[in-house]
Amino acid sequence: MGEFDFSVWQPSLPFIRDGLLFTLRLTLVAMSGGIVIGTLLALARLSPIVPLARVAGAYVDLMRSIPLVLVILWFFLVIPFITGSPVGAETSAIITFTAFEAAFYCEIMRSGIQSVPRGQVNAAFALGLGQAQTMIHVILPQAVRNMLPVLLTQTIVLFQDTSLVYAIGAKDMLKAADVVGKNYNRPVEMIVLSALIYFTICFSLSLAVKQLQKRVAIIR
């Protein structure tokens, strides 16, 4: 194949940008949705109501045991039967990622909640706070702070995983790069470009996480 020809990078930029926007949107929506649903799932898993805990546990274990590509494919094929009408690839991707990542955020939040010393619960109860008040004012804020780095690390993983939407033909950044690579028959150059972009973004994010960790860590 000989020498590389990086001139293909220039015309690819608009598509890369569009793909990146989709990737970011998907990441953000799935992250916020995933954290909210994940937290609820975590509460369900820790709740004393056994059936509820079981169901949530089964959901989480199932999601954690299947490759994401297959989950994406399944949702894409199955959602039309639930909703009665087909949804676009992008909507399907957003729903899938939220549902899938919720399982992972659930595990993180669960260990976050468990990392709060039992004495804190006792102290809150002893002050007369109710279950829900204790959860909202005392436990969750500490759990989130303790787990913030892990939550963000998971989000970086999520950001990388969005590349798997190729399975249902949604156009994320990697896909855009891929198509340009094929059009100009410069696939290798485009792979190198996407590797660079992913690395830059993920690396800056992980640096940011480290900074944040110092900032918000609870002084003990």
Binding site: S65, I66, L70, W74, Q160, S163, F199, C202, F203, S206
Partner: protein, 245 residues
Amino acid sequence: MNYHWNWGIFLEPVKSGDETYLDWLITGLGWTLAVSLTAWLIALCIGIAVGALRTTPSRLLVMLGNAWVELFRNIPLLVQMFLWFFVAPEFLPREWSLWVKQDMPAKEFITAALCLGFFTSSRVAEQVRAGVGSLPRGQHDAALALGLTLGQAYRHVILPQALRIVIPPLTSEFMNVFKNSSVAFAIGVLELTFQARQMQEDSEQGIETYLAVTLLYFICAFTANRVMALIEARTRVPGLIGKPA
């Protein structure tokens, strides 16, 4: 649904030969296991070493360890597979490159196992570092105070405890290895995802195919989970149940 179900499909012979579709899936499972287990072994060895390096007092070693981790965890696995398979050999001298590309035995398998192994090692290293960091500093001091060298302290005191602590997150990683091995089809390893594509193209019973493959992946991940649980139970230290070390 407008779909023609055929659950007997797995026992039917494939179009081009005397194997059945089930044989295909079994071959696929075999390669999936081979890639995953090899990668996991690589990931454990490198991950533990790199993770431990990152907790040493030496600035240089810490930086090397950090570089390794950041490099391998910040690029999607799929992209890394491509880089290793298509880009890396181009930097070798011409004859080597040709040998790697045409004659190296099991080249897809080796590339996939190494790539997945390195990728996972960066995550294992991160967990191991966290595990070592969560040990009380006094353990390190106590080991040194007895006259153990730093190496002996890691070998006998620090790592045995840190590894026990990180078994739960390592369980997740072990499960992930099986799931992530599905990306190896991209460079032509004949593993489960590859066989699934081939089977659904050949048989046109896509849904049955993917259900079966999903189930197989689930079983792999679930087995991994149980194996780790067994290890966790086996290595549990009496008197420490429930207490953080």
